[in-house]
């Protein structure tokens, strides 16, 4: 049985004059200890998916429909107390910006101890000892001293390590990491990712990594979801998606990677922008930016279905493949 099973998740935002749909029937599974990447440009609904899994959406967002089965229990139907038992305990989250995630007026120790004591009957002293062990695991030196420091006394990288340590405090089954390195200095981004990967592997923790960076996904995860305008448009094994992307959008994302560009050549960005939630085009949401779009694409929403090694939501995927094959033959 899978650890997490999301079925038909729909999230809406009640704005002042209208209600917009941010997530539209998202479904996916995650096995125990599996690492899954969710990719897409900003506004695709990646972070909203992450927050929904912990039922953490704040007004005006709400889960309109769907199931989030975590270890067989539906997170959507849980009351506050049940949710509290899951959050931070069995499912932990790493937020985007470590500079604003930790409470500025509480010490690192206070914030670690309260997390442990919220879920287990421990004395403060016992909790501090566990905290020290976990801080060592994320390579924080002199952890005993760090416990009595305030967040502002520590660097961004150090804070994110501490947040990873907090995520691991209660040995969760799943960690959701929402762009955990975007706010950090480029030089330490790789270190943090490596640390996260190492800890997930050694502790058998499932990981959902939300990012816009396909490069990171290819190093960190076993499976990948590509999202566009609140829908999953392609999913499958990470290697398949990186090596043989099917959806024109995924192809565009991969072509835009700096690694795909020769030195001196311009980066190949996908033209145009992600539509805003209030103005999603009819049919396939990607059609205005897609070079292969047909009338069908402009009128009907493509359903996700198997194609080769992946699942993809595109009307023209077959034509695309044959055209590409023809081009390759020519070459």
């Amino acid at each position: 049985m899978s650890l997490l099973s999301v079925r038909d998740l729909t999230v809406k935002f009640a704005m002042r004059d209208q209600t917009v749909t941010a997530l539209n029937g998202i479904s996916f599974d995650l096995a125990k200890g599996e690492r899954l990447g969710i990719v897409g440009e900003s506004g695709a609904g990646k972070s909203i998916t992450g927050f929904s899994l912990l039922n953490l959406l704040s007004r005006p967002g709400y889960i309109d429909n769907g199931q989030i089965l975590f270890d067989g229990e539906d997170v959507v139907k849980m009351n506050d107390q049940q949710l509290r038992k899951v959050r931070g305990n069995r499912m932990a989250m790493i937020f985007q910006d470590p500079m604003v995630t930790l409470n500025p007026v509480l010490t690192i120790g206070q914030q670690m101890v309260e997390t442990l004591r919220a879920h287990r009957k421990l004395s403060v002293e016992e909790a501090r000892q566990i905290a020290v062990v976990k801080l060592r695991e994320v390579y924080i030196n002199s952890p005993e001293e760090r416990l009595d420091q305030y967040p502002h006394e520590l660097s961004g990288g150090m804070r994110q390590r501490i947040i990873i340590a907090i995520a691991l405090l209660l040995d969760p089954q799943l960690i959701i990491a929402d762009e955990p390195t975007t706010a950090l200095d480029v030089t330490i981004q790789a270190d943090i990712m490596e640390l996260l990967l190492e800890l997930c592997q050694s502790n058998q923790v499932g990981l959902i990594l939300i990012t816009h960076d396909l490069g990171v996904v290819s190093q960190m995860t076993e499976r990948t979801l590509v999202m566009y305008a609140g829908r999953i448009i392609e999913s499958g094994r990470t290697r398949s998606i990186i090596n043989d992307p099917q959806h024109p959008y995924t192809q565009g994302l991969i072509n835009a990677l700096p690694q795909q560009t020769l030195p001196g050549e311009q980066l190949r960005q996908i033209p145009g922008n992600m539509p805003t939630l209030a103005q999603v085009p009819n049919g396939c949401a990607f059609n205005p930016r897609c070079t292969f779009a047909t009338d069908t694409c402009r009128s009907q929403i493509p359903q996700i279905s198997h194609y080769g090694e992946v699942e993809v939501a595109c009307h023209e995927v077959q034509r695309l493949q044959s055209e590409q094959a023809r081009e390759e033959e020519k070459a």
Binding site: L54, L56, S58, D80, L83, R84, K85, V86, R87, G88, N89, A92, M93, F95, D97, V100, T101, L102, N103, P104, V105, L106, T107, E114, T115, A118, H119, Y150, H152, E153, I166
Partner: protein, 326 residues
């Protein structure tokens, strides 16, 4: 910490210096000390002689230094009306004012935190809307009018509460007589305290609510929720502590306003404190007393503001290292 302390104390001294200059300027221009001393029936020669003796013909700097020197030794001149040292007159009135401020502060702190937090946590509850509605009425009624309307209702119409004076007070120590020792004393201080608190309380409720609502939107509160922390701990540890930082700063500023409002409250209730005394001194052109009041009140302002700043530094860990060391 030490550097920060020195900086704050230095600034406090600078402000006191400016206040003393203003006070000195007032003293020099307001009223004629000779007339108070000897009346008008003295010849011009004797006047000149007296002026010399009193040092009124010395240079401005000399006179100011003498004034400041005396002030530092606690000599703020002699009240024309009471024929007593001005500082003594004020110190005798001080406890009455402080007890009034204390009563009002109790009301403000005791009510503003729970009301502010409640309205922030449950912004759509009917009770919250009632509290917010009352608060805007509260800030729209001037202190003196609250006092008058309370007297009209509770003293004149119903006759439940006494409308003026301190009632039965019990001697404690030195100049300090307290209202809090007898039932009559309590009855007398209830209305003045409520009146004094009446404009600050809604102000603080609104401030705490606004700050708290902003903090509740913050990323670290969301993170605390994601960690499965009990909501009460989130409200009262994570959120309230961050909420109180700006509230402390505003609180420091409001202490000054509170002293000003004591003048209004004491006037309406004929409360024998230093605010009431000040207005009487103004009507009698009792210059030494006016000047002494100015210096004492200025001193209270500066001291409380400095203390509030220091408390802020102690409560806020970000100030601790980042600014205090610098």
């Amino acid at each position: 910490m030490f550097a920060y302390l020195v900086k704050r104390v230095f600034q406090a001294i600078a402000v006191m210096f400016v206040i003393s200059l203003i006070a000195f300027a007032i003293q020099g221009n307001l009223g004629d000390p000779l007339r108070e001393l000897v009346g008008q029936s003295v010849s011009e020669e004797v006047r000149q002689q007296l002026r010399d003796e009193l040092g009124l013909n010395d240079s401005f700097v000399q006179q100011y230094l003498r004034f400041a020197g005396n002030a530092l030794q606690g000599d703020l001149g002699t009240s024309y009306f009471f024929k007593e040292p001005a500082l003594d007159v004020i110190l005798k009135k001080l406890p009455a004012t402080l007890e009034l401020v204390f009563g009002a502060t109790l009301i403000i702190i005791g009510l503003s935190v729970p009301l502010g937090v409640y309205t922030a946590i449950k912004p759509n509850a009917i009770l919250s809307k009632v509290i917010m509605g009352l608060s805007i009425v509260g800030i729209s009624v001037p202190v003196f009018l609250t006092a008058i309307l309370m007297i009209f209702v509770f003293s004149v119409e119903f006759g439940w509460l006494p409308s003026f004076g301190r009632g039965d007070i019990v001697h404690v120590w030195g100049y300090w007589d307290t209202n809090f020792a007898t039932v009559d004393g309590w009855l007398h201080i209830v209305m003045p305290s409520i009146a004094l608190a009446s404009i600050m309380l809604p102000l603080f409720v609104r401030l705490i609510r606004a700050e708290m609502m902003e903090v509740l939107q913050s990323e670290y509160v969301r993170y605390a929720t994601a960690k499965g922390i009990n909501p009460w701990r989130i409200y009262f540890v994570h959120a309230l502590k961050n909420t109180l930082l700006p509230v402390i700063t505003v609180g420091g500023v409001q202490i000054g306003t509170m002293v000003a409002y004591t003048i209004l409250t004491e006037t309406v209730f004929q409360w024998p404190g230093m605010g009431f005394m000040f207005l009487e001194a103004v009507n009698r052109v009792d210059t030494p007393l006016i000047v002494a009041y100015l210096i004492v009140v200025g001193f209270i302002f500066v001291v409380t503001n400095t203390i509030v700043d220091l408390i802020y530094g102690l409560v806020n860990p970000t100030v601790n290292l980042a600014r205090m060391g610098a």
